[in-house]
């Protein structure tokens, strides 16, 4: 049974406006409305205009009862635009315009739930500081002044062309985001590199997912997170490394709590996070000793004979060397370096060994490190050596950060060529040139600089023009004082954003007003490789345009629109992306179009048109068996429609995407951090997410009055009671946190959640990165946000008055 799409509509009301009062009357006499049971008297007003504002009426569309003024005449689904969980939201429409939303009940990702950010996703669209028209800095007054799109585009092309003419194509760069649609990313990357002839471009996904990307690519032969969310429920042992799932991905945590197998829950994290508090074993290691710990665990597993020899033989390479390498990580050595006991180490190894379905999950604690790629691969190695991959409830699973980081990894055309390809590979370039009908020479045979190298290039004056799209470099980039110093050196800074007030936009020479989530259309790919559709349900303010259309406009003014004559709409670009994916591990040729995505509850890649090219295994969980939704159309070779399994994982056949089909054991000796603590800076500064109500630099979540009630307005630093007592720091008083980069002041929260010698500041406040040190993983070039040395001092005006 195939439906025509996923907007549910109340035909009667739209067709017949006269029906509305009738329904109101019916509601007023509704016997289930308690207010209606009591009639007003002179002395007591049981109902009236103030009460009716809140009186609930049946909302239809499965919504239950809702206030009359919020009653939709239609609903439609859209994927949330904050994190990578990829929850589906039912957007409530009145005359096509979104007025409210609720989480979609029958979507396989969120099962009718959303976190506070999702519930409040529409609120920021109405913020007063939305960019509503292009703003150009007046050279005389130094102020940003309104202009029109024509002049904005002329200045844009004139300035970038002048810079490229004078200083070469490597003198300009873009910094984009994991927050825009896949189609938009692809158009930007293609426009920049193929149309405009520039080379350097990167994205804020460098700050969150570059490590997973590189680690998977090197180990599996392709950037392919293997899991499906059902694995949270199928595991008997879950190992979380550097992941505070409870707070960072609350809707995924729901899946952990729905696990009926009473699973062992190992949480490896220096902090006693919310997730760690729910652990059966919290492994509170020293910050950045994770690689040593993981090698030590591998050694214990080898020594105990707790490995899957058959799987290792059949599906991997490099195990012998790895086993030899980890012999040096004896329990005593590892215990000494991680601050754990030998007993704790053995217990973790034994728990992993005993598990029949062990899944390993990592997030930013791993990815934001100076040796993050090898650490992620150490996690992958554990899964490979114990054969915990390709089966339900297993996997070495990176939980993604941003809503479309996965889209960026495949199709941004920034660090990799479109479709998870390589710019340095001539065959890949040829494939893309054929798929896009463009000359092979248009495709650069050279890699772009990474984010940190672009920032370095700006600081050194080699890069003079920068185009920032939907990210907030001035707040989020590591060692932000230096980053801001670099931005201020630019000859031309264009910021394309929803808001004019971000720390980065304030520095721009030209602001291009962008439509936000909900004001445009396209697809996101979530952590479990699921394509989801986002819809245009709200009108962008003023002259704001979707990022997609801004890129089209740039193509037009640059004079390369001809190359993009087929890139007319996100829907059209989706068909181009299908062509680009053909034969790749991320093949999506089996997805017809947006309607197909919409009707299927999203579709995980791969889904190839031909059954031979599909490398996936349908989930056959007990739950799905029971609900009958596990119909396996892949094995019948039928054209994939909404009968396709809703949750699928990779590598069930033990074949990987490497040329020899085997996964690789990759490893390197651990390296010390660049800035260890010393007597002058005796504390390790950890950074991370504060609450589930905040998103990154808070540019959107800070616009919702409700969300603002759910997180502390002012920054704070967590410090252990022992350290606080020693430094005479009283709870809730202002302290100074000082690193070699900067000095900030914030309130002290005295709590044993952090260990002695460590302090924690959430990343959502702009002062945090004034302290962090710009250190990068050599493989992924991801910044190491989670380790730098600081000292804490009480302030003279300490008490919080």
């Amino acid at each position: 049974m195939k439906t025509t799409g996923a907007t549910t509509r109340r035909a009667a009301v739209v067709a017949d406006p006269a029906a509305a009062p009738t329904q109101r009357q019916r509601a007023a006499a509704d016997p289930t409305d308690p207010a209606a049971l009591q009639s007003n008297s002179l002395l007591r007003q049981w109902s009236g205009p103030l009460s009716s504002d809140l009186t609930l009426h049946p909302g239809d569309f499965g919504l239950g009862r809702i206030p009359a003024r919020l009653r939709p005449d239609a609903t439609t689904r859209s994927i949330c635009g904050f994190c990578s969980t990829g929850c589906s939201l039912d957007v409530h429409l009145q005359s096509g315009v979104a007025v409210n939303l609720t989480p979609t009940v029958d979507y396989p990702v969120n099962l009718g739930m959303a976190c506070p950010k999702g519930w409040e996703a529409l609120t920021c669209l109405a913020a007063p500081d939305r960019a509503t028209q292009p703003l150009l800095r007046n050279p005389d007054t130094g102020k940003l002044e309104p202009t029109d799109w024509d002049e904005a585009m002329q200045v844009f092309t004139l300035k970038f062309k002048a810079l490229m003419d004078q200083h070469g194509p490597e003198s300009v760069a873009f910094l984009s985001t994991g927050q825009i649609c896949t189609e938009e990313m692809a158009l930007l990357g293609a426009l920049w590199k193929f149309g405009m002839g520039a080379l350097h471009g990167d994205s804020n996904t460098r700050q969150c997912m570059a490590t997973s990307h590189v680690a998977y690519k090197q180990s599996f032969g392709f950037d392919a997170p293997p899991y499906t969310y059902a694995d949270f429920e199928e595991s008997d042992t879950l190992v979380f490394i550097g992941s505070n799932l409870c707070i960072a991905h609350p809707i995924l945590w729901q899946r952990v709590l729905r696990n009926k197998k009473n699973p062992a829950l190992i949480v490896i994290d220096p902090r006693k996070t919310e997730t760690a508090m729910n652990a059966t074993q919290h492994v509170a290691l020293r910050p950045k000793s994770d690689l040593t710990l993981l090698y030590g665990l591998a050694n214990l597993l080898v020594q105990g004979g707790w490995i899957d020899r058959a799987f290792i033989e059949r599906s991997t390479t490099g195990f012998a060397e790895f086993a030899e390498f980890v012999r040096q990580f004896t329990p005593d050595k590892v215990a000494a370096e991680t601050g754990l006991t030998v007993g704790e180490l053995s217990r973790v190894a034994e728990t992993i060994a005993k598990g029949k379905a062990v899944s390993f999950w990592w997030t930013m604690g791993v990815n934001q490190s100076h040796e993050s790629t090898r650490t992620a691969q150490a996690v992958i190695n554990l899964a490979l050596m114990t054969g915990n991959i390709g089966r339900p409830g297993t996997g070495a699973n990176s939980i993604t950060g941003q809503c479309n980081a996965m889209g960026s990894r495949l199709f941004a055309n920034a660090s990799g060529l479109l479709g998870g390809r390589d710019f340095l590979n001539a065959e890949h370039r040829a494939e893309v040139s054929r798929a896009l009908h463009i000359a092979p020479e248009s495709i650069p045979a050279k890699n772009s600089l990474a984010y940190d190298q672009i920032m370095q290039g700006i600081a050194e004056g080699r890069i003079k023009g920068l185009w920032v799209i939907a990210t907030n470099t001035a707040h989020s980039w590591i060692d932000s004082a230096r980053a801001c110093g670099a931005l201020d050196k630019l000859e031309f800074l264009v910021v394309q954003d929803m808001f004019t007030t971000t720390d980065t936009a304030k520095r721009a020479h030209l602001i291009l007003p962008a439509a936000g989530w909900g004001e445009k259309e396209g697809t996101f790919i979530n952590s479990e490789r699921r394509f989801g559709h986002i819809k245009k349900v709200s009108r962008a303010p003023g002259q704001a345009l979707s990022d997609f259309n801004i890129f089209r406009l740039v193509a037009e003014y640059w004079g390369c629109a001809g190359m993009f004559s087929q890139w007319t709409s996100p829907q059209a670009v989706f068909q181009i992306l299908k062509r680009l994916s053909a034969g790749r591990p991320c093949d999506i040729t089996g997805i017809e179009d947006y309607r197909h995505l919409d009707a299927s509850g999203g579709i995980q890649w791969p889904l190839a048109k031909e059954r031979e090219s599909v490398i996936s295994e349908p989930v056959t969980s007990e739950r799905e068996m029971a609900t009958g939704s596990a119909t396996d159309s892949l094995n019948t070779g039928a054209l994939i429609t909404d009968h396709s399994p809703r949750e699928r994982r990779l590598f069930a056949d033990g074949k990987f995407f490497t040329p020899d089909g085997r996964a690789k054991f990759l490893f390197d000796p651990p390296r010390p951090v660049a800035e260890p603590v010393d007597s002058e800076y005796p504390f390790v500064l950890l950074t991370g997410r504060g609450t589930s109500a905040q998103w990154h630099t808070n540019t959107r979540t800070g616009k919702s009055a409700v969300l603002r009630t759910l997180y502390p307005a002012n920054p704070y630093v967590e410090i252990h009671p022992k350290d606080a007592a020693r430094l005479r720091i009283e709870p809730n008083t202002t302290v100074a946190v000082i690193s070699r980069r900067g000095r900030v002041e914030c309130a002290a929260v005295v709590t044993p959640i952090v260990q002695p010698g460590q302090v924690f500041i959430p990343m959502h406040y702009d002062l945090t990165n004034q302290l962090t040190r710009a250190e990068f993983d050599p493989h992924s070039r991801q910044p190491s946000y989670k380790h730098c040395a600081v000292r804490i001092e009480p302030t003279r005006n300490g008490s919080n008055k």
């Binding site: 439906t3 002395l43 979707s546 044993p752």
Partner: protein
């Protein structure tokens, strides 16, 4: 500041067919909302979200003596706060209005750190403070479901329920001029739908249960007599059962005072006050040292200028009426000014209301509400005083004075009945009666100076003023017994009030004492020596009134209300 782009170019004529540019087309396209047209589908099989929450609702309606209640499984709550936003969205609340909130309890135990997230809404108490305090019967406890509903159209916006509720439940909206609160989504429950928060919890931590009201009563009423802390006898830090005067006062003190022994929830308000029905359950043994995450926050409370003015003016009026009675009702001027001050005070008080036009119903709550009684008493006082002005007999003067004192006592009860520690009865009565004496004396001194022959013997009046001032300052100073080292792990409400008065409000506190000493001691004493004139009594009265206004302002802003655990970074 980087160098701006160098030039502004003349606008280019875009290539167009019919004068429309690509920009025009794209802007037009941006206005189109295509979701409905492209993705419409029949209004079909979309049943209400019932599957998941069926188990979270009670199977049967409450029997007599029972009611609905929230039950929160602390072990399941992960602190995602979706309940707060879902309640906000599904009930169509104002931008910053939330009927549910999430806080945290911390254990400072270094070996076993714990952060227990706590979600909280209205507790639909067995003996709701909001309901008993409301002067216009704008609250209704449903006889069948026990749900405490607020009648938004009945509300006059006096916010007394905000003061009466120990859990910060009723929320006042300035723009609407009324309070609103959680009604457990009663109309959803009536048709078998789950309340918004229950629907939205990913971990099924919130459910609706049926509880026996008698059991709730039995469970918490015992705390009144039992909540005694053995170490409290001499140490004001732990002295939670003792009022500043050493009277045993089992109510109103923050249940941090009961710590883990609070069988409702650790470090939360004393449940004996209103008998909350929400049950917090956990299979884990919660550690004994749990403390609210915001236990160390010193927050100033909301100022209430109209109430400050009203209390001081009506007490001036009552004081003058008392002085008038001492003259045997001979001093018309005293009675007239007393009437004017009291009437002005009552008018000032109405400025506090969000819906003053509905305030005529405020007598309705007289059976339970001290606010109702206060308003009736001041109505009577103004009436009796007016009659006395017409009659002018000693008896009528005495009656007026008595009514005035009764009305002031009702004012004191309005605050004492909230059972908030800083507003405890001895201190509040002391302050209000002290103000009455002090201002009555200072006012009559000035009026005597203006009158042709002295209304009262000056030494008597001066004695009243000086003694009144000293008494008042002594009463007020009791709070500083609770001044402690801020670093101390547990701060009671009274500790925090003392810290606020000493720290954040230190200048105001000192200014208040200076006003009182100058206007209430030094100048009156001087007048005994130098004789009066008009200037000195006028200055004395001005200083006294200023001092009392500051004191009454501090009475509101330095008050630390009991609250559910909140906190930063939860």
């Amino acid at each position: 500041m980087p160098s701006p782009p160098s030039t502004r170019q003349p606008l280019r004529e875009s290539d167009t067919n019919d004068g429309r540019t690509l920009i025009d087309d794209l802007l037009a396209e941006q206005r189109q909302l295509t979701a409905v047209e492209q993705f419409s589908r029949a209004h079909d099989a979309h049943e209400v979200h019932g599957r998941r929450y069926r188990d979270l609702l009670p199977a049967n309606a409450p029997a007599p003596g029972q009611q609905y209640a929230f039950e929160v499984d602390l072990d399941q709550c992960s602190g995602c706060k979706a309940c707060v936003t879902a309640c906000h969205s599904l009930n169509g609340l104002d931008d910053d209005e939330t009927w549910r909130s999430v806080g945290a309890l911390h254990s400072a135990n270094v070996r076993q750190p714990l952060k227990q997230i706590v979600t909280t809404a209205c507790h639909h108490c067995v003996d709701p403070g909001c309901l008993t305090g409301c002067p216009v019967l704008a609250y209704d406890k449903d006889p069948v479901t026990g749900i405490v509903r607020h009648l938004d159209d009945q509300c006059i916006g006096c916010q007394y329920c905000v003061m009466k509720c120990p859990y910060e439940v009723p929320q006042y909206s300035k723009t609407r001029g009324i309070v609103r609160k959680c009604d457990m989504c009663s109309s959803r429950l009536a048709v078998g739908e789950a309340p918004a928060c229950v629907q939205a919890c990913p971990n099924e931590a919130i459910r609706i249960t049926v509880v026996d009201q008698a059991k709730v009563r039995g469970k918490y009423r015992r705390l009144k007599s039992e909540g005694r802390n053995p170490k409290s006898e001499s140490n004001p830090k732990a002295d939670n059962q003792n009022s500043p005067f050493g009277f045993r006062n089992s109510f109103g003190l923050r249940a941090s005072d009961f710590g883990f022994h609070n069988s409702f929830l650790p470090d939360s308000p004393n449940p004996a006050i209103t008998l909350p029905t929400t049950r917090y359950v956990s299979k884990r043994a919660l550690p004994g040292d749990l403390e609210a995450a915001d236990a160390h926050e010193l927050r100033r409370a909301k100022p209430h200028p109209p109430l400050t003015l009203m209390l001081v003016l009506t007490q001036l009026g009552a004081g003058l009426a008392l002085m008038d009675a001492l003259t045997g009702g001979a001093a018309r001027m005293l009675a007239a000014v007393a009437l004017a001050a009291s009437a002005l005070g009552v008018v000032a008080g109405t400025l506090h209301l969000g819906q003053p036009l509905k305030a005529w119903r405020s007598f309705l709550g007289w059976r339970k509400s001290w606010l109702s009684r206060e308003l009736i008493a001041f109505g009577a006082f103004v009436g009796v005083l007016g009659s006395h002005l017409a009659i002018g007999r000693p008896l009528s003067a005495g009656l007026a004075a008595l009514t005035g004192l009764l009305a002031v006592a009702c004012s004191a009860m309005v605050y004492a009945d909230t059972r908030r520690p800083f507003w405890n009865a001895p201190m509040t009565f002391g302050k209000f009666l002290g103000t009455t004496l002090l201002l009555g004396g200072a006012g009559s001194l000035l009026l005597s100076a203006l009158a042709t022959n002295p209304l009262l013997p000056r030494p008597l009046v001066v004695a009243v003023i000086v003694l009144g001032t000293i008494f008042k300052l002594a009463v007020e100073n009791r709070i500083f017994r609770f001044l402690v080292d801020e670093q101390d792990p547990h701060l009671t409400a009274l500790n925090k009030t003392a810290l606020l008065l000493n720290g954040l409000f230190g200048r105001l506190s000192r200014g208040r004492v200076a006003c009182a000493l100058a206007g209430g001691v030094v100048l009156p004493a001087l007048m005994l020596v130098t004789g009066a004139g008009v200037a000195l009594p006028a200055l004395a009265l001005t200083l006294c009134v200023a001092g009392e206004l500051i004191e009454r302002h501090l009475f509101f802003v330095a008050e630390v209300a009991p609250k559910m655990p909140g906190g930063r970074g939860v």
